[in-house]
Symmetry: none
Subunit: 247 residues, 2 copies
DNA sequence: AAATTTCTTGCAAGAAACTGCCGAAAGATG
DNA sequence: CATCTTTCGGCAGTTTCTTGCAAGAAATTT
């Protein structure tokens, strides 16, 4: 078994079980624990997994560990406030999950009538509280790491929609476009952008001009970007040049 | 169980119950109280919890405000405890929503590996927190009144499943069977019973021998009924005669 | 084809981490 | 005040980690 194969196997097991013991892996694929440990170290180095004493955890697992307090909650609330006016009555809106989206869902005006599509459980939950919003949940299999629905079912459902607006929380954006680091999430986000007439991205300023490993789309597919900063901030010049509206 | 997992479990329990005893934790996850104490100390060191003599408290009193009061929470917790042993590793399980089911989801042992299908957002949310449970969300359109997915999509998804167990919270049961009052919910519950090999119904005793307008199924389709009362209670005689196991 | 370099893997020894147990100290309880 | 519980610190047994090393495989050079 080649090293690459082995590491792929390890990643798959971690995806499946969310955690793994070095000793188990060693037995399963008949290599010494030292080799496993070296693999785990390499994977951890690449930010693919979280290594802990005795084995490794999926990155997602750890995030729930930290979830208690929302990072930069004030900024996110401000972003949410700027986003709400974009939503008009009777729109069909696709949204991702993420803390900023949740914040937005909470402050939607009660008389707003609209249909929201989402694959995020917490987001669906918030929308469902609203008196006049219809919620459609997309997909079936729920990824633990991202708490959203992923996989073919979700993608095909999204493809069948023609929405007015896609409101997307993002992890990284720079002059090359939006990037992320979870392959399954990427697929979903790509499909959402395709399915919507206009795309609005929400991001705290900290994530602007950063990038990750996998590309979701170029700047040309984005219509509006919302951060907690003032739109006149010079940080946004390159994005304005690309025709993106900053709010 | 890895140290990190254990600490994540502890945090989650504290989130849920707002307080925790070292001795309880020690029993739940089978490690010595010393280990628990060391974990609690580390978590307190990280400012995640507040350690007190004998256990720990949640740092955020905040959540206790948001926590809505569940009617007869104690009874429901007891029902949940009786239900858990029915679930074995690698089962495929269909569940409804409802506060009793949520309560059950929270106390599923952390090492349980199973696949849960549900159309309930809060239930899906709870299952998704669990380290080893795979969650499949059923359906798309979400009914506001019941917070579950309803409609043709949900029904057809359910029909495509062959589950080992259906765990169903119910609103009314008497000698004629299970009844409910929301037409859309009925359709979903009917489909679930059909799709599962065995059906377990959860109900607080108050609802036994009551009925509502619409029929879900007769007693012959039910295998087990769980309430907060002792199974020997004479209240259950007619149901036992019908071959239903009472727990 | 032979020699060399690089990569990978397994092994061993010592270091570090984890866990359980014990006894003494501190705290809670009636 | 007496008793019971919880905590603290240290110790020991076990497991895991690190490091250095050597043998074998693969790639590269001569």
């Amino acid at each position: 078994m080649l090293k690459t194969e082995r590491q792929a196997y390890i990643l798959r097991q971690i995806d499946l079980h969310n955690r793994i013991l070095s000793s188990d892996l060693s037995n399963e694929i008949n290599v010494s624990e030292d080799t496993i440990r070296r693999d785990l170290n390499e994977l951890a180095e690449m930010d693919k997994i979280i290594k802990v004493h005795g084995g490794a955890l999926s990155k997602s697992f750890h995030s729930s560990f930290l979830k208690s307090d929302v990072y930069k909650a004030d900024s996110k609330r401000l972003i949410a406030q700027k986003t709400v006016p974009l939503i008009r009555n009777n729109m069909f809106i696709l949204t991702t999950g993420g803390t900023t989206i949740i914040e937005m869902a909470r402050i939607l005006p009660p008389d707003l009538t609209a249909t929201f599509f989402t694959g995020s459980i917490p987001a669906a939950h918030e929308y469902a509280q609203h008196p006049n919003i219809e919620v459609i949940f997309l997909g079936d299999k729920i990824s633990k790491s991202s708490q959203i629905a992923v996989g073919g079912e979700a993608i095909s459902k999204i493809s069948g929609i023609k929405a007015d607006l896609c409101i997307m929380g993002i992890n990284a954006i720079d002059e090359t476009g939006i990037t992320d680091n979870d392959w399954e999430v990427i697929q979903v986000k790509k499909a959402m952008i395709q399915a919507a007439e206009k795309t609005v991205v929400l991001s705290i300023a900290e994530k602007v001009n950063t990038h990750q490993k996998l590309t979701i789309c170029g700047l040309d597919e984005i219509d509006t970007m919302i951060t907690e900063l003032d739109p006149s901030n010079p940080l946004f010049e390159p994005y304005k040049k690309q025709g993106i509206t900053i709010l």
